[in-house]
């Protein structure tokens, strides 16, 4: 040191003194809560510090999975699947998980608001709001019965009943209505009606099939009931002996873009947009021509031959570019499989028609494709009905419009001129949570309860009835939609009593009357007169039914509904449908087509206000927080577009702009754009990001001809993934079906000659926690990622921070593009901390924050961590996350945080610990009951959510546990990620199984 003989300078002194002074002057900070406020009267259902579970139904998409809400101290902190529900079977998707961010959304409307003459919104009281509402109704009802309209999604049986009987009839209104889903499958409904005389849609049993062909139906992402279909698909893909040979189900996807579903199928065929129906007809032609029509299907073979006459494989090859040999092979595989399914998710009628006939002719109707007896169809308005209502709005024939559960200003095609129609309505009442684009047209905005705060019944299919129940007290000063209608109904003259005052009472009465009906119907009928009406009930009997109902109702509320087996209806193809062969248009002459698809998380845009859903990368493109235009490299070159360049997409309906993603996963003549963003309202997380493709589409269509211009601007598309190539390293592995059948051992890259040990092995006398992840089941749906965000208080960081590599997810979906054709279409695997036995993170930590626990986990002690990030640098799996900032959850999003774990602050490293709080919870329970932890008692959040049941957690010491059995039963598919590094992970992956492609 230059300063003096003893090396202590004036500068050093000042430094030291300043440190000491700073240390002494830090004020003694008061912890947030220094008060203990007990209940005045305790709630018997609540044990402070212990979770309660309430069964309800997810209202995030029309599939309506049964869910269980985990509630701590009166607030919901996590959603999980309801194991009793045949749709969810205990699993849940990412969108379902994110319902939590819907309840706690900081942009939810907090008070009733009225738009004043100057256009500004003013806060009013509920009394004022309801008086205004009722006054307007009174005036409108005086002008005529059809002067009040409603625009909504399917309300479900309870709210529908309240709307009609509790509200509209007291006001003597007939309420022209628009019940509408933007991705409603009008073509599918039409085909089901024409082919089978049904007004509902068929249900699929993929698990009973061996062959599957999907024409644009993204059944692993958003189509119909993704959780249920993902579970079935996992069973379909499980290797087992089918038709005397070891095999996995064979799946083919037809569509212009490689969706996640396409990537998980064996084959992806991309005929020109709009010619999917030609291919389906070609298959139908072969089935008829080769005599593969099953006699039991009662389909007239000759009629079918005439029907499909124009679509011989040769012509189909010309129309679609799919070779005749492939068409013949697909037809043969479809017809000869022991159970096959053709499904259609396109927006044209003919594909739905052809697939319906194909399913019927090959005898799959009633086996893998079923309709149910007594199925209540969804309430949906026809296109004509929607147009008629909008027209009367435009003509000024409507005085009041109620809007709820629907965002037509964002989702309705411009051709319907919704904005013009709504502007003509003198009084628009909007009922909702986060004010959306439609709310901007409203004169009265009423905050209603989120489905997790309110009573209703979900629309569901035959056999089941599902309750939507409040799982907690409302967060804000909102009211239930049903309750508002009922109170307004009273103002309109409905007799007021306690049974009609609340949605819950109406709901209970509805269940009581159907219960009574069922009991009455099950009573023995007088002999010899099976059609006679059952005898009327005595008062004693009626009282007994009421008593029994109390128990039934209690059970229904506890279980979230009733889940009976639906009865399969006996349905056959209507012969008339074969009389008029479809006239399919020639392949489109347009140079370029626009193809829009529902985003796996944002769906039709309703998910955009939930930050988790924008933060989690879309699995195939791995992009976040934006709308992109997926363009083939050749097309991009032709149009002069570079990656991230903003392209203007102009259709006859309008134009949008989006940055370009250059990708091989799309046809040359197609530009693919996800739906979901481009909001001008819907809160801070949605507003002003991306583009809204609905604004350039025709009503009910998802495709259009398009002209693409470079704009010269650019915007960076952001992905947390640094490489799409595994660079020859064994991270995600796969094995071909042939190798499984022939017992060929998988080749491993670059293994060390022998595993070596430098130190004595660490013993695990009690447990060593481990995981088995079956990549053959995993679809990459990212439900696990969303579940981890919810369970472990992971902050969302936004697009800019993700671009700087600061995403906080503890589990992610790795997506690699194979470089050789002898591989699955994409390599997909969940990547999380491997809890290495020889963990590279541990020895490099200078403060022992990263250490090895007694039960084999790589522990991370947050209060020891000083943030050197050595561990992150040394982790070969890149699963450690550093808090660059103090994470923020704007109020009341913070209410969702899990109180069982630490919320980490800035400067701290964090990572997956197999949901240690759940391990501890089970261990404590087991110890208190004096027993060992049972196998399957501990389920980490990711394993719990997985619809495909790809993740099994358990004890490596327990060879008979489900987790270790899954490893043993699936040799030689098991491998360790980056095994050559000798980290000895506690996670064993099971290789994905793929079919070698390229054979006709």
């Amino acid at each position: 040191m230059p300063d003096g003989p003893d090396g202590f300078s004036r500068r050093s002194f000042i430094k030291l003194a300043a440190t000491a002074a700073a240390a002494a002057s830090v004020p003694a900070c008061e912890p947030a809560s220094r008060k203990l406020i007990p209940y005045v009267i305790p709630d018997n259902d609540v044990i402070p510090g212990e979770p309660s579970f309430y069964a309800t139904t997810c209202m995030e998409c029309p599939a309506h999975c049964g869910i269980v809400a985990r509630v701590r101290e009166g607030r919901v902190i996590k959603l999980e699947g309801n194991p009793l529900d045949p749709v969810s079977r205990g699993a849940i998707c990412a969108r379902g998980q994110a319902a939590l961010q819907g309840v706690y959304n900081p942009d939810r409307l907090r008070h009733p608001m009225r738009r004043e003459a100057d256009g500004a919104l003013h806060e009013i009281t509920w009394d004022e709001a309801l008086d205004t509402f009722n006054d307007k109704l009174r005036a409108a009802a005086g002008n005529g019965a059809k002067r009040v309209a409603i625009i909504s999604s399917d309300l479900g049986p309870a709210l529908r009943t309240i709307l009609i009987f509790g509200w509209a009839s007291p006001w003597r209104l007939q309420v022209p209505s628009i019940f509408y889903e933007p991705l409603d499958e009008a073509a599918a409904y039409q085909a089901a009606f024409d082919c089978f005389g049904r007004i509902d849609l068929p249900n699929y049993r993929i698990d009973r099939a061996e062959f599957l062909i999907s024409f644009g139906a993204d059944f692993l992402e958003t189509w119909r009931s993704p959780v249920e279909l993902t579970r079935q698909y996992a069973a379909f893909r499980a290797p087992r002996v089918r038709s005397a040979a070891m095999t996995v189900g064979h799946a083919v996807y037809v569509g212009p873009r490689m969706s996640l579903t396409a990537a998980r199928c064996d084959e992806w065929l991309a005929p020109p947009l709009g010619t999917e129906a030609n291919l389906a007809m070609g298959i139908l032609h072969e089935v008829a021509a080769q005599g593969w029509v099953r006699p039991e299907s009662k389909v007239d073979v000759n009629a079918l031959k005439t029907f499909a006459a124009a679509y011989d494989p040769g012509s189909v090859e010309k129309q679609t570019g799919v070779s005749a040999a492939i068409v013949r092979r697909l037809a043969q595989q479809f017809a000869q499989a022991n159970g096959a399914i053709a499904m259609a998710g396109t927006d044209d009628y003919e594909t739905h028609l052809a697939t319906s006939i194909l399913n019927a002719a090959t005898g799959n109707l009633g086996r893998t494709v079923t309709f149910y007896e007594r199925n209540t169809p969804a309430s949906r308005s026809s296109t004509k009905g929607i147009e008629a209502t909008l027209e009367s709005m435009r003509k000024g024939e409507i005085d009041v419009v109620l809007v709820t559960g629907s965002n037509p200003a964002y989702m309705m095609a411009p051709a319907l001129r919704f904005n013009e129609a709504i502007a003509k309505v003198p009084f628009v009442v909007w009922f909702g949570t986060v004010p959306d684009e439609t709310a901007e047209h409203a004169h009265l905005l009423l905050p209603i309860h989120h489905p997790l705060e309110s009573w209703s019944e979900a629309p569901t299919r035959a056999g089941a009835r599902k309750l939507v129940q409040p799982v907690m007290q409302p967060v804000f000063d909102s009211r239930a939609f049903g309750d508002i209608l009922l109170s307004s109904g009273h103002a309109g003259g409905a007799p007021a009593n306690e049974r009609t005052a609340a949605t819950s009472a109406v709901l209970e009465d509805m269940w009581l009357s159907s219960y009574e009906e069922e009991v009455r119907a099950s009573r023995p009928k007088p002999a010899g007169a099976p059609n006679a009406k059952p005898a009327p009930m005595s008062p004693v009997e009626a009282a007994e039914i009421k008593r029994n109902f109390a128990g039934f109702w209690e059970q229904a509320r506890r279980e979230g509904g009733t889940f009976g087996e639906p009865q399969v209806a006996d349905v056959s193809l209507k012969p008339d449908v074969l009389k008029t062969p479809p006239k399919l248009a020639a392949p489109p002459v347009t140079e370029l087509s626009l193809f829009c698809y529902p985003h796996i998380f944002l769906y039709d845009g309703r998910g955009a206000d939930k930050p988790w859903l924008s933060e989690i990368p879309e699995p195939v493109t791995q992009l976040v927080w934006d709308t992109w235009a997926e363009v083939h490299p050749d097309t991009a070159r032709r149009l002069g577009l570079a990656q991230d360049a903003i392209v203007e997409l102009k259709t006859p309906q309008g134009a949008i702009e989006a940055p370009v993603l250059i990708s091989d996963h799309v046809r040359r003549d197609v530009i693919a754009v996800p739906l979901g963003l481009g909001h001008t309202a819907l809160g801070r997380y949605a507003k002003g990001r991306g583009a809204n493709p609905f604004s350039v589409l025709e009503f009910g269509r998802r495709t259009s001809s398009v002209i693409a211009h470079p704009t010269g601007k650019s915007r960076r598309l952001v992905s947390p993934l640094s490489k799409s190539d595994q660079m020859g390293r064994a991270i995600v592995e796969a094995i071909s079906l042939d190798d499984i059948v022939n017992g060929v051992a998988p080749k491993r890259e670059a293994m060390p000659p022998e595993p070596y040990e430098m130190y004595d092995d660490i013993p695990y006398p009690k447990h060593q926690w481990g995981m088995t992840i079956d990549l053959n089941s995993c679809t990459g749906c990212s439900a696990c990622v969303a579940a981890c965000y919810a369970e472990n208080n992971l902050p969302f960081v936004g697009k800019e921070m993700i671009d700087r590599g600061r995403i906080m997810s503890w589990i992610r979906i790795e997506r690699y593009v194979p470089t050789s054709p002898d591989a699955p279409q994409l390599y997909i695997a969940p990547m999380l901390c491997q809890q290495c036995h020889h963990a590279p993170c541990e020895p490099v930590c200078p403060v022992f924050a990263a250490y090895h626990t007694e039960e084999g986990l790589n522990g991370q002690v947050y209060n020891r961590c000083v943030g050197t990030r050595y561990c992150e640098n040394n982790c070969p799996y890149k699963v450690r996350r550093f808090n660059w900032f103090k994470p923020e959850w704007p109020e009341p999003l913070n209410l969702q945080l899990n109180p069982d774990i630490t919320t980490r602050g800035a400067g701290v490293m964090e990572k997956c610990n197999f949901c240690f709080q759940r391990i501890r919870y089970a261990e404590i329970n087991a110890a208190d009951e004096g027993r060992p932890v049972r196998d399957g008692e501990i389920v980490p959040a990711c394993a719990q959510a997985c619809p495909a049941n790809a993740i099994t957690f358990g004890d490596i010491n327990d060879a008979n546990g489900a987790m270790m059995r899954r490893r043993a039963d699936n040799r030689p598919r098991d491998y360790l990620a980056l095994e050559d590094l000798n980290t000895r992970p506690a996670i064993t992956y099971l290789r994905d199984i793929y079919r070698r492609r390229g054979k006709a």
Binding site: G4, P5, D6, F8, S9, R10, S12, F13, L16, A17, T19, A20, A21, A22, A23, A24, V26, P27, A28, C29, E30, P31, S33, R34, K35, L36, I37, P38, Y39, V40, I41, P42, I47, P48, G49, E50, Y851, T853, E854, E855, L857, G859, Q860, V861, Y862, N863, R864, D900, I901, T902, N913, F916, Q917, R920, I924, A927, D928
Partner: protein, 172 residues
């Protein structure tokens, strides 16, 4: 000069650290906490032998021991007429119903530091007496902490009993 500077700096540094260490540990149990009503644990748990978990009923079932609901207080005092005069602000609303029940805002004596997850339940099931950590509560009119509940205190007991000392058990 440098020697003086060095010693002065050392004194300041050590002094600062001492103040920092002893003066500002807000997570420590506090000896100076006065409650809003003069509740005596000596009378309840000592003289009248009311078991701890009669009032702190969640200790064996949950991570928190729980503070008794006001209803529990009134359960005895409302019917037995014990101290009905002094307790009338608490009990009266329950009898005349003209005013909402009284909410008692107790002041916290024991607080855990951040980054620690403590669960009462397994300790109760393992037969650890409440007094082990909370001291002879049954002799105290006003609760004052007897032990400083810090990591050393926990680890000592865990060592003696031969139970887990894995960091992650508390720090997760």
């Amino acid at each position: 000069m440098n020697r003086i500077l060095l010693s002065l700096a050392s004194v300041l540094l050590v002094g600062g650290l001492v103040v920092a260490a002893f003066g500002q540990r807000p997570w420590l149990a506090r000896a100076d906490v006065v409650q809003p009503i003069p509740f005596s644990h000596r009378v309840h748990a000592g003289d009248n032998h009311i078991p701890c978990q009669y009032c702190h009923e969640y200790a064996r079932r949950s991570r928190t021991a729980g503070v008794p609901p006001v209803q529990r207080c009134v359960g005895c005092h409302g019917t037995s007429g014990l101290l009905s005069g002094a307790l009338s602000p608490v009990t009266q609303p329950w009898t005349d119903k003209s005013q909402p029940p009284f909410e008692i805002r107790w002041n916290r004596v024991y607080t855990l530091p951040d980054f620690v997850r403590f669960t009462h339940k397994p300790h109760i099931h393992a037969g650890v007496a409440c007094q082990t950590c909370h001291g002879p509560v049954e002799t105290m009119d006003r609760i004052v902490p007897v032990h400083e509940i810090n990591m050393g205190f926990c680890i000592n007991c865990h060592t003696q009993r031969g139970v887990t000392k894995d960091c992650i058990v508390c720090h997760h």
